[in-house]
Structure formats: C-alpha cells, structure tokens
Subunit: 349 residues, 2 copies
Amino acid sequence: MQEYKVAVIPGDGIGPEVVREGQKVLEAAGKKYGFRLDWHSYDLGGERYLKTGEILPDSVLEELKGFHAIYLGAIGHPDVKPGILEQGILLRTRFVLDLYVNLRPIKLYPGVECPLKEKGPEDIDYIVVRENTEGLYAGSGGFLRQGTEHEVAVQESVNTYMGVERCLRYAFELAATRKRRKLTLCGKTNVLTYAFGLWERVFREMAKEYPSVEIDYTHVDATCMWMIKSPEWFDVVVTDNMFGDIITDLGAITQGGLGIAAGGNINPRGVSMFEPIGGSAPKYAGQNKANPVAAILAGQLMLTDLGQAQAAQGLEEAVSRVLPRMQTQSAGRMGMSTSEVGDAIAAEI
Amino acid sequence: MQEYKVAVIPGDGIGPEVVREGQKVLEAAGKKYGFRLDWHSYDLGGERYLKTGEILPDSVLEELKGFHAIYLGAIGHPDVKPGILEQGILLRTRFVLDLYVNLRPIKLYPGVECPLKEKGPEDIDYIVVRENTEGLYAGSGGFLRQGTEHEVAVQESVNTYMGVERCLRYAFELAATRKRRKLTLCGKTNVLTYAFGLWERVFREMAKEYPSVEIDYTHVDATCMWMIKSPEWFDVVVTDNMFGDIITDLGAITQGGLGIAAGGNINPRGVSMFEPIGGSAPKYAGQNKANPVAAILAGQLMLTDLGQAQAAQGLEEAVSRVLPRMQTQSAGRMGMSTSEVGDAIAAEI
Ligand SMILES: CC(C)[C@H](C(=O)O)[C@@H](O)C(=O)O
Ligand SMILES: CC(C)[C@H](C(=O)O)[C@@H](O)C(=O)O
C-alpha cells in the first residue's frame, strides 16, 4: 500500500481544530482509495515562540524536506507582534523549500452563499497561479535617514528570468490541461515597466510553445474589477507575488470567504505545503466553531499533488455534498460544529 | 463675479463627449451659484501624438500651472502602444504639478445598481486618499542581463517622509471633517517592512495630533475582502500609490462601475486635475452612448476644490435626482444618451 509521510503543523488559534478535521477526512480517503498517511506533528507557532523563543529551527526546516508533503493549519498569535511568525514560518518555508507556485482555486460550490448578485457556480471557477518566492516578497530594500524628515524607505520588487519563467511554465502547463485553456497574465505593464516588462516578454514568448492556450492580459486594477463584474472571463490567472496575494484574497470572498478557501505552496520537484488561507482567528479558537472546509480542501490539493487524483476528486465530491447542509461558511454560523462538518464529510467519502 | 480659469483636456475616445456634458452642467451651476468658468481647451491625446509626435510639450505643462483647475476627459488611443500616453500625459502631469493626493470617493447613490448582495447606499460611502507621486510609480528600477536566462528586473517603491507625511496629513484633515471621523491605513506591514514601516510609523505618530480621529489598519489583501464583505467599516482610507490604484478600481465597481466613478489629482497648494476614472473606451467613441456621470461628478470634486462648496453640493443633488431615471450606469445601456443625461442633470441644477 502506498504510504505518504506528511508533516503536520497545526499552528495557532483555530489551526489545530481545522487540521484535525482535515486529517480525519484524509484518513477516510486513504481507507477508501487505498493509501496510508504517516503523520508527523510539529508544534511550530506562537505558543512555542513565546515559551522558547524558537520560531522555525534550521533542523526542523531540514527535516521538513524529507516529507512527501506538509499540511499547515494557521500561523498568528495575539501575543506575538504581527509579522514575526508569518515571516519566520510561512514566508521562510516558502523561500527555503523554494515553493515557487502558490496555487489558489477560486471555485464557488453549489449551495455556498456568494456576496455577488447574479453570479453562480457556473461563473466562478478559475485558478490563480501566484509566484511565491520573489517580487516584493524578496525582503529587499532599506531605510535612509530613518526617523528624520529626510527619510527615504525603499522596497524592491526583484524578478528573475528563472523565477518568472518557471511560474509561467507551471501556469501554461496547467492551462493546457483545462477545458477552456485560457491563461490571463495579471500585471501592471503601463507603470511597473521593469517588473512586468520581464513578465510580459517571457509570457508572450512562451505562449508560442502553447498554441492551444488562449492568452490574455489585464492590469491588476482592472483584474479586480473583472473578478467582481465578470469572473466568468477567467480560467487560469498568473501573476506576481504581491498582486497574487491581493487577488487571491479578493477571489476568496467571491467563493464564500476564508472558511472555504484553500491554497497550495508548491515546489513541483520537491515537498509542497498545503493550507487553509484564512488566519488563526484567535477569537474562535478552542470552541469547535471554526469552518474546517478550507483545511479539508487544502487536503484535496495535497492529494492531487501526491498523485492521488481519484481520491482528490472523491474528497471534493464529499465536500460538495456537505456544503449545502451548512447554514453559512462563517465560523459560529455554520449550523454545525467544526467536528460535525468534518464527520459529515468523512462519512461522505 | 468670481471667475475661474479652467484648462480642459478632452483627450481620446469618449473623453470629448463626457467632458462636454460636464462643462454643460458646470456652466449651469455657475449661472445658479454665481461664478464664471473661463475654459481653455488643449488637444492633448492620441490624435495629436499620432499627427505630431508630441505628447505633452513642456510649454503646455508650464501653461497648465497658471490655471485654477484642470478638467480631463480620458487618455488612451487604440493605435498608440499602451503606456505611452498614460505615462506621458497622466502620470507626468501628476508628477510635474506635484498632484500628491489622488482622491476617490466611493459612494453608492440610491437608484444605482450595485453588484453586491445585501449592500446599499448606507453601506458604501467612503473616500480613498491615494498617494499619487511616489511609491512604485517612481519609475525607479532596471534590468540586468536583459533578454538572457540570467535576467533580473528590479522595480523600486520609493517612499519619502515628505511624501508620506503630506498624504497622511491630508487624510487626517479630511477624516477630522467627516461625521464618523475614522481613518484606515491600508498597507502590507508584514511583508513590505520598509515601505509600510515608514507609512505606519508616521501614521501612528500623526494620530496623536488628531485625538478625535479613530484610526485603524488593514493589510491590502484583507482590505479588498472587506470592501466587498463589509464596506460599511470604511470612512476614509489612506494608502500608497500602487495599492490605491488597485483598491479604487475595486471600489468603483461597488459604486456602480467606471461610468460613475470620479477622481481628483490634488495639489492642495497648486492647480489640481479632475477626471472620470474610466478609460477612453474607443468602441463607444462618437456614439453619444458613454456615461457622462463620472465626468460630471469629477466636476463636483473640482467645484469643492475651487471653494464652491454650495455649488458642489447642488451639483451632486442634481446628479442624485437623475441617476434613478437611468436604466443602468453602463455605456449603451443607460436608456438615455450621453447628452440626454447631461441635459437632465443641467436642468436639475
Ligand atoms: C501572512 C502573509 C505573510 C501571507 C502573504 O502575504 O503571502 C498571506 O497573506 C498569504 O497570502 O498567504
Ligand atoms: C492609466 C494608469 C497609469 C493610471 C494609474 O495606474 O494610476 C490609472 O489606472 C489610474 O488609476 O488613474
């Protein structure tokens, strides 16, 4: 029987609760589809940092490389200054494990409340491919004359051919497997002439290798408008790290919110990390009220990545059958508890 | 009688048509409220560029400084490479005339169709103050090893204390005049530690001078979610140039789209420029189908800037009375022509 070693980082706040339900559902999928998951838990997060000062020891990062996948809950603690854990755990893992694609399906499932009038599941079904290791996230920049009235603060977006090429390659390959085969580059070529000069050049060059893929380009400001007004235009959208951060959160709202939005941090040739994209939501922690669907759908992305396509599909179908039974997708207003949602989905597998 | 010298740049596509209606309404306001507008037209835009190669001659820029205000239609021509006119006219004017605040009211008027379920005019009524002269728009950056597989493209966000301070100052002053007196900084402090390190530091320091203003902070990704889910949380939002570009377009969609969204490029101590924020929409040019409301509301912002507060209010009220008579706010589907909308609003003044 195929066995997968999976590192679990439950993390902070609601992380442990939603991860537990995800594991429950993944276990059920393993039984049904014939594979075993060998879980190894890591207590990274705010509690450990507050107790020991440790954020993400090098040795742990080294160990993580030995897994088939990483399954993450949420990072963020009310007693820790914002930025420290996100940068020290989430961003550092993305960089050191070179998780160069952030994959975010934006899919409105039947039965899920959408904030947009006149838009339904047939209109909202696309995937964002976000570059995940460079751009404005490079951490490059600095202060000059800090704290004076002559201060200058510079923040640099660093884009490399290598980084842009592989991200676009992933997006073209993905688009080529889809029914509509359409790939949209989201950028700001009229202002960010250097950063998106490179992106657009490589995009148009690579498009010649994929004659079956229809290409399109939209500025990031217009993209946000279309995501609300005409989301049906999109199939696969590729963009840089910062714009990807913005449009994937906007997309999450259109698919029912953070309770249901999952993402993968992917290194196609290494270990990848899967997560519900919402935060740790401390005010709901430990109350069995948080929505585990995002974590469960992160499990679906993980199964796909592990090569268990059938199990991934079975999991998604099980989720779709339970979603209409939930009152809303918001914590505390689901009409079901966290564990009840997990039980129901596991039972549907 | 008070007289104002106004430079008009009708520009490309639908620009001339919507500007004409704006002038019509502003003339009517002048008659009613007792001021005169002395218009001087400039033929900047795609046609002039294609004929003469001239984009924005220094001498014209010099002349523009002598006006009380600039009234702009739209810039962008199908036969001109994207970027050239936007950068050469719009961005250059912002930079050279130091129009350091981009002011964008996001207001849903009664009778206007909103794409969001469960949100009405009482929920969507806030103003974005966008920094308009620095950040990622500085044009700073470059290519290394261009065209090779070792290429690096760098784009820099340059933020100065001077630039950030005056923009925040404007936002605090504005917030202090509003009923709710709430100011939200939209940034990305957890990743753009330099750029928004400066912004946040100055923001919190300045807040001490405005004890009556309630302050708040949201990351840009979360801001986009709240703008859809809970726009009623916002009163005045202040942000940098790039994020401002993104969130104001998103906001425009929630207030009924580009047909109705107006903006001001403001130098509080100099000449300011007012514009409908939509593009030149070449496919509707010359057909009397474009929506002039955005241009007319840009006129309202201009009157406010000129110190004609009462006339500005009268103009806004006239617009509100006509909006419910329009079928939609989209070009070609208003149930009225461009000039009919202008006539109706002028008549209501
Ligand atoms: C927590 C934060 C650093 C992170 C990001 O900006 O990438 C998050 O918003 C995300 O999208 O995963
Ligand atoms: C045309 C373009 C350069 C401009 C910008 O990015 O600022 C526009 O989108 C705007 O918001 O006024």
